[in-house]
């Protein structure tokens, strides 16, 4: 038919090319269990691992963060590669993912990177390979164990963020609000917008003692900075008084005949109690 005419074929060559690339199914290389990638623990570093994995057409048995970046290949029994931090490569991967799979996918990867599921780098690498293979529909494919794991990490991060939205307790220290939290996942980047929006008239700091990071805010400016250590200074009389008020409110609001310890612990697990002024020891909250 029309395909017989040379003109049509010439014109459609570009179209065909586009169709091929659209329908192109990336091949997922087999996993090499003995291979280990070391990277510097940063997001960009992990993107470079994706680059390396693509270029070498291999999937390592594990991807490990090595904060010092000094590890050499000889130190390990396994066949290992040290992936260098390279902004150019990481940008390329970033654009590639956003382009071929979607921005939503990239955002999910970033969030999972901040979660604390075991072997998250390895799982995310497999997830990315599958993403290139199946497109963004991969997010529906929860049956797949890799997708299931990754989305579970996402879910846990979300849950913890929700908890900390409520459980952060500020103390007024000379007009600055200060709070200490201890999060399992790296939640600070995702909490920033909520707290900065809510306390826009205040100066505040939220210190995550598990990750040694702090969120700082002051009238329209915010930053997440590494902080070595921080202890709460001596509390003012006024601050102590509000803690006493809160503690007493907390005790008064319970309906005693309906006491239900299991329910409380389900919603407010004990690991949060150290950071809640109403649950910590009585000494700071006793009546005068």
């Amino acid at each position: 038919m029309r395909q017989d005419t040379g003109v049509w074929i010439m014109d459609s060559a570009a179209q065909n090319q586009a169709a091929i690339s659209r329908n192109f199914r990336a091949v997922i290389p087999p996993v090499t269990p003995d291979l280990v990638y070391y990277y510097d623990g940063t997001w960009e570093g992990w993107l470079c691992c994706v680059y390396e994995s693509y270029m070498a057409r291999e999937i390592p048995g594990d991807v490990l963060a090595d904060g010092t970046g000094t590890k050499t290949a000889e130190e390990n029994l396994f066949y290992s590669k040290v992936i260098k931090h390279d902004m150019e490569k990481s940008n390329r991967v970033c654009i590639g993912i956003a382009d071929k799979i979607g921005h939503g996918f990239l955002r999910i990867l970033q969030q999972v990177f901040c979660s604390c599921i075991p072997h998250k780098e390895e799982q995310m690498l497999l997830f990315t390979h599958k993403g290139f293979r199946y497109g963004r529909g991969i997010l529906c494919l929860r049956q797949d164990p890799v997708v299931k794991n990754v989305l579970k990490g996402l879910h846990e991060l979300g849950r913890e963020i929700d908890k900390w939205y409520g459980f952060v307790r500020f103390s007024d220290v000379k007009g600055i609000l200060v709070a200490v939290i201890g999060a399992k996942n790296n939640v600070l980047p995702f909490m920033a917008s909520h707290f900065c929006d809510r306390y826009r008239n205040e100066k505040f700091m939220i210190f995550d003692k598990n990750h040694n990071m702090a969120l700082l805010y002051r009238r329209g400016e915010r930053a997440i900075v590494p902080v070595e250590d921080f202890t709460l200074p001596e509390l003012s009389e006024e601050e102590k008084q509000y803690r006493v008020l809160w503690k007493n409110y907390y005790d008064a609001i319970e309906i005693k005949p309906r006491h239900n310890e299991t329910c409380r612990r389900t919603h407010m697990p004990k690991r949060y109690w150290d950071f809640l002024t109403e649950m910590t020891g009585q000494d700071s909250c006793v009546l005068k």
């Binding site: 939205y165 007493n248 409110y249 407010m268």
Partner: protein, 541 residues
């Protein structure tokens, strides 16, 4: 008396109010004023009874001139009385909010001097918070029955959610237990709030306003439907909403919104074009949205003799006709001896409250109607089976459903599948058909659902049709514990083992052979028979 003492007394008096939610409203902060509201709701702590503490829930005062039998604050009860000054309460809210202790304020009150006087006091707190402190957090305010409509409107303009307690599920009980309150005093403000919300949303160009359940009826239909039982026989606002609202003092009282603008917004009923831009930014020129998080109500369960069926029908009516966001139930906790009330030794009907909430969820999110859940024969919710499971067992003709083909609504009606699971199934099968392993992997809990599902035409592999195992699957551990505890006097706690023994082996169930095996087991008590009469074990495939 200092603030600490007051807080202890007034929080203690407020704790029997069930509602403490802050969800349903997304509002960003504005300028350099503190406060925002999140639509998913944030729980800031959990009290010893496991209930969420989201808002600072206090009474304005517990001085009361009413004498409601079920209430701790009634005037005949000897208790310490006090009242917050508006400044104290506003200050307390502000300081707690700054420290992220709370999500906002839940302000209720006993009736001090008169409903109007009390409402004025509450209004002062709200004005201080909103205008002086520029507080942007969540505020839930209770309307005292009998308050002047002008005050109700002003409260609603400043609060995010506004609620009138319906208190008891029928007007007869209300007359008996709360002689100072009347159904008109309760339902009139409800209707007023509903119209005000509707009017306000229309004025803002967002037609329809809140969408509580299923199909939204339009204003006139909703009003006409209120001629029923407990609901008002003669509702002065219902005949012609627009007319009544514009003529009455509701709009031309001392409103924060200018009368001119109110007139414009109420005139939308007459389909006049309105400059909607004026109404779009709630904090700015157009005035605030009226009760942006809608209205809710609460009733006490167990203090009066109404059946679950009556309560659910009332609830459904409230959702449809009054466009409630939520209806809360509060199990009656005996606080005082009174011959009008159940005895002091009565155990609070917490289990019944739990069942009612389950049924309430089915009404709001699962597309059930009250008449489907309970009918003439079944007046009470089943004690040992949750309402959805009970419904499914009464309708074996609808099951099993095929996972790969059933619609979202059909999936929602399968016991053990909730909104999240149904959503995941529908999404997952877009990519490829689901197998039983796939269903498990996407996170659907199959303990109950496996009896009601088919996957690619096959039932769950090695699905046990043993009656004991089936019943174990249908009940949660708590329900089984309850079953054993309540029947201990008649029966050994090893109920299910006994069934196995009575037949000499693990009995295989086949409904086609013995229609209702329960009646043939002699050791069953009447109560158990009655409760489990409906349990039919499905046999599929």
């Amino acid at each position: 008396m200092d603030v600490l003492e007051k807080l202890k007394i007034l929080a203690d008096a407020a704790k029997y109010d069930a509602a403490c939610t802050s969800s349903g409203l997304e509002r960003k902060g504005e300028g350099f004023a503190m406060g925002s509201s999140r639509d998913f709701g944030i729980c800031h702590s959990f009290a010893g009874d496991g209930r969420c503490i989201s808002l600072l829930k206090v009474l304005m005062t517990n001085y009361c001139s009413f004498d409601c039998a079920y209430c701790v604050n009634r005037r005949s009860n000897l208790t310490r009385r006090t009242a917050f000054t508006p400044r104290e309460l506003a200050d307390l809210t502000w300081q707690f909010y700054r420290r992220n202790y709370i999500e906002g304020l839940f302000l209720s009150s006993a009736v001090w001097k008169s409903p109007d006087y009390t409402s004025e006091q509450m209004l002062k707190v709200l004005e201080l918070l909103r205008y002086e402190y520029r507080f942007g957090g969540y505020i839930h305010v209770k309307v005292i029955p009998g308050t002047d409509p002008v005050l109700v409107e002003r409260l609603g303009t400043l609060a995010d959610r506004i609620s009138v307690n319906i208190e008891l599920p029928s007007s007869g009980s209300l007359q008996k237990l709360a002689p100072d309150k009347s159904k008109e005093n309760i339902l009139l403000p409800m209707k007023q709030i509903q119209y005000k919300i509707k009017e306000n949303r229309q004025g803002r160009g967002r037609f329809g306003g809140i969408q509580p359940v299923g199909k939204q009826k339009n204003l006139v239909d909703g009003a006409a439907g209120s001629r029923n039982g407990f609901l008002l026989k003669e509702d002065p606002l219902q005949s012609n909403a627009g007319k009544a609202v514009t003529e009455g003092k509701v709009l031309f009282g001392e409103s924060f919104v200018s009368p001119q603008r109110c007139l414009e917004s109420s005139n939308t009923y007459a389909s006049q074009p309105v400059d909607t831009k004026l109404f779009q930014k709630p904090w700015k020129k157009g005035g605030r949205t009226f009760a942006p998080a809608g209205q809710s109500t609460q009733m006490i369960v167990g203090a009066s003799p109404e059946s679950d069926r009556q309560i659910l029908q009332l609830t459904e009516g409230l959702y449809h006709r009054y466009q409630m966001k939520r209806v809360f139930y509060s199990a009656y906790i005996p606080v005082m001896e009174d011959n009008r009330l159940p005895s002091r030794e009565m155990v609070p009907p917490l289990w019944r409250e739990h069942r009612l909430y389950q049924a309430d969820w089915l009404l709001r999110f699962y597309g059930f109607t009250a008449s489907e859940l309970l009918d003439e024969k079944n007046q009470q919710l089943h004690p040992y089976l949750d309402p959805k499971c009970h419904w499914a067992l009464r309708h074996p003709e609808l099951f099993p459903v095929e996972v790969n083909r059933a619609s979202f609504d059909e999936l929602l009606r399968v016991p053990g599948i909730g909104t999240e699971s149904a959503y995941r199934i529908v999404r997952a099968r877009k990519m490829c058909s689901l197998t039983w392993d796939g269903v498990k992997n996407i996170g659907v809990v199959l303990k109950r659902a496996r009896y009601f599902l088919l996957c690619k035409g096959r039932s769950y592999p090695f699905l046990s049709r043993n009656r004991n195992e089936f019943l174990l699957a249908m009940m949660s551990p708590r329900e089984r514990a309850l079953f054993h505890r309540q029947e201990r006097n008649w029966f050994q706690p090893t109920l299910f083992d006994d069934f196995a023994d009575s037949a000499g082996r693990a009995e295989m169930i086949d409904l086609k052979k013995d229609g209702n095996p329960w009646l043939s087991v002699p050791v069953l008590s009447d109560r158990q028979k009655e409760a489990l009469l409906c349990v039919r074990i499905p046999v599929f495939g």
